[in-house]
Amino acid sequence: MSQLVFIVFQDNDDSRYLAEAVMDDNPHAEMQHQPAMIRIQAEKRLVMNRETMEEKLGRDWDVQEMLINVISIGGNVDEDDDHFILEWK
């Protein structure tokens, strides 16, 4: 059985960079646009890297800044200073 993890962002200016970074770091992910939101799902695992985001934004970025734009998530969370990971093991 397929086991998808997912993250949903508000569709706004910050999230466009977030979504781009997630898609760069997770080539197996699928992005869906729905009114006012961007939903990204992937088999088993999605990772969000601070480094990729900082490159996209051209500034320092704290992983927890994501909390402002995220709407929902599915999967076990593993967060530290450098990444935010959602996964089913």
Partner: protein, 511 residues
């Protein structure tokens, strides 16, 4: 000597915030300080195993929450200043907000109270901090929702007395009793009920597709509070999953207790969310996603992945999930046809879906809508056109557990009413389903105390014996303004005048 000023990383910061805030009591017994921690039979051997994956410390909590609030209130101001209510798709949409404000927002407040109380019960500092933050979040949700909808209250009916209605109106006893049931349980059951079964497994259905639908119907204020609240929910959901894993990892004796709670609270939540099914399919004039599609994505797919993950602990999917999965084809239609008949006793309006909407439902519900539900609407439309708009004057039989009228049908038999009954200490009790009946059988002493609105009316506890008196005096629903059919209602007329269309009855007067 040089002072090293090394910045703490997230894990260390969180460690300092939680673990080191807890201490072993010396002059009081732990049992006296946390008296409710073990009566449910849950065994915790080591609280230090508690992991909070978000590791949010107070300084970042306030920083990010303040930023969310600033964004949110800037949008509320813009919405109000620019008369945003004039730009929604159709005034019928506002009826979903009336249900939200009276049915959902008071639950946010109940959640605030629930987490504040429950957090006090745990001897583990990590769990106490997580509950405390969630309590503050829930209070924020209750407040921001009231602020967002206060603008609509200036322009539409039915939004004027939400807290009062929540405590009294017949269908609002469904959400109210759900949370009262959770809050009167022990601390671990409360977390399993609300953090896990409700927040993790089910709330996405309300706060993601419905809110996206609000955006699609031009309601900037609601989608913004919805998503702003849900950004807190992402933390709450993670907490819900961690709570379950923590309890299950602590002791194998916990597994059957947790399984029973998951079975119960999945079902209780599913029954509560039947209100959302109707909001999505019937109360959003511009459609985004049907209830059955939302159920497939957010329960069958995501819930499926979750319960597969929990298999390793010996947890199986909720006992009655097959009944819930089957019901996705019927739920919203059965509920809306019921509310249509009882609009004389609601603070919102109902209506027969327009032709395009019915066609959309035929497409989304190919096996059920045309066969079972379209003919009912065609009949009701004919009656209404002949001047006999149907209102049901018989008060409905309510389920003793979920308090929804016994309106649902059996799995696989959509014309057969689902009903169970049993006798307990000489009294007969009625249920909407096998699942609710089973919940009762496990805790009869709790559910025989249920405050069932219909029984209360018949017992004379609601200021009168006839519907009109109860609705007006006891519920504070303004007759002829808040209730009855949408077409021709004051809301409808107001909307036509906003849109520059002459109300139909003024045309008649002119002619």
């Amino acid at each position: 000597m040089a002072v090293q000023n090394k910045k703490l990383n997230l894990k260390d910061k969180y460690q300092y915030l939680t673990r080191d805030m807890g201490w072993e009591p010396t002059y009081q017994k732990k049992k006296d300080i946390f008296p409710d921690e073990d009566f449910e039979g849950i065994k915790i051997t080591d609280w230090s195993q508690w992991e909070d994956p978000f590791r949010l410390t107070m300084d970042s909590y306030w920083k990010y929450q303040a930023e969310k609030e600033k964004k949110l209130y800037a949008i509320f101001d813009a919405f109000a200043q620019n008369n945003g209510h004039q730009n929604i798709s159709d005034a019928r949409y506002v009826n979903a907000l009336k249900l939200f404000l009276t049915g959902v927002s008071p639950l946010e407040h109940a959640a605030f109270q629930g987490y504040a109380k429950t957090g006090r019960q745990f001897s583990g500092a990590g769990a106490r901090v997580a509950c405390q933050m969630q309590a503050i979040d829930e209070l924020r949700h209750s407040q921001t929702q009231q602020h967002a909808m206060s603008h609509y209250n200036k322009h539409f009916n039915g939004l004027h007395d939400a807290a009062h209605m929540h405590d009294r109106v017949w269908f609002l006893s469904v959400p109210k009793s759900f949370f009262d049931d959770a809050r009167t349980a022990g601390p671990f059951e409360f977390l399993t009920a609300i953090s896990f079964s409700f927040e993790y497994v089910l709330t996405n259905l309300l706060f993601v597709p419905f809110m996206s639908g609000a955006a699609y119907n031009g309601d900037m204020a609601t989608v913004t509070f919805g998503f702003s609240a849900q950004s807190d929910e992402a933390r709450h959901m993670t907490l819900g999953l961690e709570v379950i894993k923590f309890i299950l990892e602590q002791h194998e004796d916990n597994v059957p207790i947790v399984q029973r709670w998951i079975d119960k609270w999945f079902w209780r939540g599913f029954r509560l969310l039947s209100l959302v099914s109707m909001m999505m399919d019937y109360m959003l004039p511009n459609k985004v996603m049907s209830w059955s599609e939302a159920w497939e994505v957010y329960y069958e797919q995501n819930g499926g992945a979750l319960f597969k993950d929990l298999e390793r602990y010996g947890i199986r999917p909720p006992k009655y999930q097959d009944v819930a999965n089957d019901a996705k084809h019927h739920l919203s239609h059965q509920l809306w046809t019921t509310f249509y008949q009882y609009s004389q006793a609601t603070n919102f309006h109902t209506w027969i879906p327009e032709k395009e909407e019915m066609d959309w439902m035929s497409e989304k519900y190919p096996d059920t809508f045309d066969k079972y539900y379209r003919p009912r609407y065609e009949h009701l439309a004919k009656e209404a056109a002949a001047g006999r708009r149907f209102y049901n004057n018989t008060l409905p039989q309510l389920c003793q557990v979920c308090q929804v009228p016994t309106l649902f049908t059996e799995m696989g038999a959509p014309t057969k009413l689902s009903h169970r009954q049993l006798k307990y200490e000489g009294e007969r009790y009625h249920f909407c389903s096998e699942a609710c009946c089973e919940i009762f059988e496990h805790e009869p002493e709790k559910y025989i105390q249920a405050w069932l609105p219909v029984h209360q009316i018949y017992q004379g506890n609601c200021e009168g014996a006839d519907v009109e008196t109860v609705v007006q005096k006891y519920y504070h629903i303004n007759i002829g303004e808040d209730n009855f059919e949408y077409l021709g209602s004051p809301d409808h007329k107001r909307w036509l005048s906003i849109k520059g269309v002459k109300p139909a009855d003024e045309d008649k007067n002119a002619a």
